[in-house]
Symmetry: none
Subunit: 227 residues, 2 copies
Amino acid sequence: MPQTILIVDDEKRLVSLVESYLTQEGYRVATAYNGKEALVVAQKEKPDLIILDIMMPEMNGYDFMRIHRTEHDTPIIMLTAKVEDDDKIIGLELGADDYVVKPFKPRELMARVRNVLRRAGKSEPAGKTLKVADIVLDHDSREVLVGERSVDLTPSEFDLLAAIMASPGRVFSRLDLLDVIQGVRYEGYERTIDTHIKNLRAKVEDDPRNPRHIETVYGVGYRLSKG
Amino acid sequence: MPQTILIVDDEKRLVSLVESYLTQEGYRVATAYNGKEALVVAQKEKPDLIILDIMMPEMNGYDFMRIHRTEHDTPIIMLTAKVEDDDKIIGLELGADDYVVKPFKPRELMARVRNVLRRAGKSEPAGKTLKVADIVLDHDSREVLVGERSVDLTPSEFDLLAAIMASPGRVFSRLDLLDVIQGVRYEGYERTIDTHIKNLRAKVEDDPRNPRHIETVYGVGYRLSKG
DNA sequence: GAAAATCTACATAATTTCTTCACACACCAA
DNA sequence: TTGGTGTGTGAAGAAATTATGTAGATTTTC
């Protein structure tokens, strides 16, 4: 029985991104776009963890948390819009278990999720080690093996590889991949991904000019070969 | 049969941290998040020691202790939120065997736990000796050997090393490590860890500039090499 | 209490990584 | 084949992260 995580945020794009990440890691996901809706969903789904934005229409995160906490003690990770120390302190005092400042990188949030759930004594979903063809990627140690050889990746390279390894064969657009390494934001140069892919290929492929693992899908994006 | 320790505190994050420490030291752990719940759990688990927060919703620590003590004489360590001498005195008068002021460092609490249990005539669990590559760390004597050479570590350095030796290869974030040496708190400078790591490397590594044991994982944290 | 040891914070230097850009080349459709 | 796009690549500056030395604060020791 997978653990359920409730995401509450009015930015749909952000909710989708986080949802896909959590799903990939084996969690069940519920969503809500404001505090009011969240109360209903939380009541019904009984999530093991709630990821909660503070700034929301209808009912903000603080209000939701205050009401929710009267009856439940679900761990909560707060999403704060700016780097205001006040927010952090208020949030933590209200009972949040952790907070992440927007914009955040997906891996940052995922790390907090694992942390909070571990602290709350819940077991983690299995499968922290990904294996596709002769590539092995381990999240705990952040190590990557290609065949027998250990390769040293930068944070962005690791995150990109982890993302495409989570769904071998699926084509990722450059925008998808940009979200992976820069988080959801409104600017950013798509072609930056090309460079990361180039560097990644140089480390992961035997013959970078004829990549066997990381394939280009002309006009669309990149894909990890299942073979 | 390991001894059982009951932790009672409404701060889940704190409970989890303490739990992980106690577990690592070989104790069995039970938890409760308020006095009312604690009464039930204590009845069922019959702990050898209770770690008890004073400020809690539903039923506070004093009330729990008063009721519990009518039928049991389990040793109790109190957690007091502030440095108010009144609290300490009242607590001790009510029958607490010791108290720790929040925020506390994990090793501080562990020391008290051992102390109280020893006074209560219970034997301690055997301390574990960790060995990774050519580093040997002994919990009982708090001694560390690197190859043939005995190295002298400060308390923080010892705790850090013990933490990463418990999970070789796993990457620890600076925040993880800050919990280890400063306990649960909401402020604290992550970069302080860098300094401890530097000092630790100076003592543990043959060539501190090219560390073989304590590796840096750029953008994430530190890791103990399995090799 | 005073001295010593340790911890924390911070400034600065050293590294590493990220992003952007220009240009060459590859792909596809007409 | 032949443009018009899309992609691969190398280089360089910008940005982010880590290493290190030092000083003051705190804690421990005697």
